[in-house]
């Protein structure tokens, strides 16, 4: 399987007549995007498209998802299969990437689990999406009493459509850089690098219902048994976020496309280990599901004869139980584990960080304490609805002050404690 990522580096955004790319500038035809997203009868009349650039005194909130614009130039299928394109498998051929650019879905709150992105100031240090040139969709439902599941879906599809549209509109431009990934068949992979340990990646996806769902080729992941996927499929958008858990540790679609654990494991493949398999699994709401999925994921790792797995969690609280089950069941099969999670240690950092634990979890990296409090100074411009700071997860009644500053836990900042490890934040014990 071979995939080429053709990257155009976006350094700037502007609105203009024709959507396209030249000399590092992505020009965006606002009317075309508005026409594209207003096709959906579930979205209201008051839609807007805005721009948020790194370093600007701009705050975007509440943010639902972040998506990197991609479009397949060749090869089977199209990006975000099963969501906005056919369910053909992806991961081969050539895919255009607008690097340094992102689509943010923002606007009227679906439910509490949405976040804040500051493009400058102290909050900007905590979110990876203050460094991207952002096309912001400001959305609202056509009916204020609309079923929340419907509105969530409408927001999700609007974001994916816009991301695909932007990249598609630049398909005529020759890429600045081309990155090539070539992965062997399982048969070849098993005999490669016989001197190195065979390893895998257990990729946990949040699947607990409204705003906690993830999709694989359009399938609601809560309905799958753990399965094997190629990292190249992930790069083409086979995994799409349905906006999950708190903003800080929801794995955005952007972070799936650019999964840094996969990136690092591919980099070290053939040197430190033989990276043979990625196993996707879910985090469901019943104990039977949790037991079944963790047993099945560990079983797959065992069947493949893996010596070790990296396990990443999504979310916190009861998914800690899934993480611990995955860890314990793998270790019991003699498969060494390293865990990537985040912490809820209280605002003072003095409480236990995880809801569950096991002695086998000897190697654990965390993306920081999501309860730590931060004050975000006022910004000159807010895209969206600042008053939602008082109700989103990580905020409280009074989070938004009269001067426009916002005091919240890091929980409320999109991607701040990414459990795919997409930030440099961590914690240590004082």
């Amino acid at each position: 399987m071979k995939l080429e990522l053709h990257r155009l580096k976006v350094n700037s955004l502007k609105f203009g007549e024709k959507t396209g790319f030249a000399d590092g500038v992505l020009t965006v035809n606002k009317a075309e995007i508005l026409a594209l997203i207003s096709e959906d009868p579930l979205l209201g009349k008051n839609l807007d498209v805005d721009i948020a650039m790194p370093g600007e005194s701009v705050r975007v909130m509440p943010v639902k998802d972040v998506i990197e614009p991609r479009w397949k130039l060749s090869g089977k299928g199209q990006v975000f299969p099963g969501m906005i394109s056919d369910v053909e498998t992806v991961g081969e051929g050539q895919t255009l990437v607008l690097s340094g650019c992102a689509v943010l879905t923002a606007g009227k709150l679906v439910r509490f689990q949405e976040g804040i992105i500051d493009m400058s100031g102290p909050g900007a240090d905590y979110t990876p999406y203050s460094k991207t040139c952002n096309v912001v969709l400001v959305l609202e439902p056509s009916d204020p009493n609309m079923d929340k599941h419907d509105y969530e879906k409408a927001c999700r599809i609007a974001g994916l459509k816009t991301a695909a549209y932007l990249a598609k509109s630049c398909a005529d431009v020759k890429a600045d850089t081309v990155e090539t990934f070539e992965l062997p068949t399982m048969r070849e992979a098993m005999t490669q690098f016989p001197e190195l340990p065979k390893v895998g990646y257990i990729y946990m996806l949040q699947t607990q219902g409204l705003l906690h769902d993830t999709y694989l080729y359009g399938v609601d992941v809560k309905k799958i048994l753990p399965t094997i996927i190629s990292p190249l499929e992930v790069m083409d958008g086979a995994i799409v976020s349905g906006n999950c858990v708190s903003a800080c540790d929801k794995n955005s679609t952007y972070s799936h496309l650019n999964n840094p654990v996969i990136a690092d494991m591919l980099k070290r493949h053939g040197k430190d280990f033989n990276f043979v398999a990625t196993i996707v699994t879910n985090e469901n709401v019943t104990l039977a599901d949790k037991k079944r999925s963790s047993s099945y994921a560990a079983k797959l790792a065992g069947m493949l004869g893996l010596d070790g797995v990296v396990i990443t969690e999504e979310g916190f609280g009861n998914p800690d139980a899934d993480l611990i089950m995955n860890c314990r069941k793998c270790e019991q099969l003699g498969i060494k584990t390293a865990l990537l999670t985040d912490e809820y240690a209280g605002q003072d950092g003095a409480s236990q960080s995880l809801a569950d634990s096991c002695p086998e979890g000897t190697a654990c990296v965390t993306a920081g304490n999501a309860n730590e409090v931060i004050t975000l100074p006022p910004m000159s411009k807010v895209i969206g609805y600042p008053e939602e700071a008082n109700v989103i997860a990580g905020g409280w009644q009074g989070s938004l002050a009269d001067d426009g500053s916002i005091t919240v836990e890091l929980q409320a900042i999109t991607g701040a404690t990414s459990e795919l490890g997409y930030t440099k934040l961590g914690a240590y014990t004082l």
């Binding site: 070790g308 060494k336 390293a338 990537l340 236990q352 654990c364 309860n371 934040l425 961590g426 240590y428």
Partner: protein, 348 residues
């Protein structure tokens, strides 16, 4: 201008006497006394000891609350920038007094508090969460090592410099998680650690797995027909509109709601404030999280004596263990006062 320090020592280090003087009453002197001399030298003029509190170890141990209040009053007028106690080495009562005063001063004045103790001093276990305690040898022979380390840590805190890990700075781990930006992405750190574990090399986990404590079970309910049963939930069920603004995540409070005469929770009357699960089902029918309807039936049928007329609710989502503990303790006190027999706690 030099930072202002108030120093706390016991009667022994003040040169007043040993065990026979251990009931010496607290006093404050505008002077540098005993180990304060070495501290002063270690500060090299960057900080000065503006006053020294002296208190007998037994006196403090037998009058902890009164002495604490008295000493806080003495300290106040000296407007200290930091408070240093000891070092106490392995002296148990002295260590406890140092720790207690550090905790009280930190709470009252919000200034850095520093002590020095041998790791097995009981004051360490009791107060390490509240104070910076430099690890010292077990006797005063370690004074020359302990004092410069305490002074150095105090100056760092006073200047607002970022503290390193306990092993780097020489203090005893406080058990408090603090965020920092590392040089690498968390993903890369995780793969690094993974490779070390695979190779059998030594590595340091970023988060040692917690061990939870236990409580003995209460005896069973003997007479259910006359028992008063209370409902408590971490599932966020509250009257519609969430009148107390209980947070969707990281709850800072719990709610107490009257259900006198309520036989059934409906979408008209109740909803959930919880932000951690799909709330659709609880909003449609809150009995799915807090089974009031069934308990009313059981009450009417005489299976239970009574359903308590108040229920308690909070949001478990991302709420710290410390807050959850506080809610639990407050709720159970109210339930005991109201004559409740037993509790059904529901979680989502």
């Amino acid at each position: 201008m030099a930072f202002r320090i108030v120093h706390y020592i016991n009667q022994f280090y003040a040169g007043i006497g040993g065990e026979e003087k251990a009931d010496y009453e607290p006093e404050i002197r505008e002077a540098v006394v005993g180990p304060g001399m070495a501290l002063k030298a270690a500060f090299k003029g960057e900080a000065e000891i503006v006053a020294t509190v002296i208190c007998g170890d037994s006196h403090f141990a037998s009058n902890m609350d009164d002495d604490t209040a008295k000493i806080l009053g003495m300290i106040r007028e000296y407007k200290p920038d930091a408070f240093i106690a000891g070092p106490a080495f392995n002296a148990g009562r002295y260590g406890t007094a140092c720790g207690a005063m550090c905790a009280a001063v930190a709470k009252e004045f919000g200034i850095p508090v520093i002590s020095g103790m041998y790791p097995e001093n009981p004051g360490v276990e009791m107060f390490r969460k509240y104070a910076w305690i430099i690890e010292t040898p077990d006797s005063a022979a370690g004074m020359r090592k302990a004092v410069p380390a305490m002074a150095k840590l105090a100056l760092k805190l006073l200047k607002g410099e970022t503290l390193g890990k306990p092993s780097e700075e020489g203090y005893i781990e406080r058990g408090i998680r603090k965020n920092m930006f590392y040089g690498k992405l968390a993903a890369q750190r995780c793969v690094d650690m993974f490779v070390s574990k695979l190779k059998g090399e030594t590595f340091e986990t970023e988060y040692p797995m917690p061990v939870f404590d236990r409580v003995d079970p209460q005896p069973a309910v003997k007479d259910m027909k006359h028992a008063v049963i209370a409902l408590v939930t971490s599932g966020g069920i509250c009257p519609k509109g969430n009148p107390d603004h209980i947070e969707a995540s990281s709850a800072s409070k719990f709610g107490e709601y009257d259900i006198t005469g309520v036989n059934d929770l409906t979408s008209e009357t109740h909803c959930t404030a919880h932000g951690g699960y799909d709330a659709t089902y609880a909003d449609q029918d809150a009995d799915r999280v807090l089974p009031v309807d069934v308990l009313r039936d059981l009450e009417r049928e005489g299976v239970i004596g009574k359903l308590h007329n108040k229920f308690y609710t909070t949001v478990g989502n991302g709420t710290s263990v410390a807050n959850a503990k506080r809610f639990g303790a407050e709720i159970v006190n109210r339930l005991v006062n109201d004559g409740v027999t037993a509790v059904i706690l529901t979680s989502t």
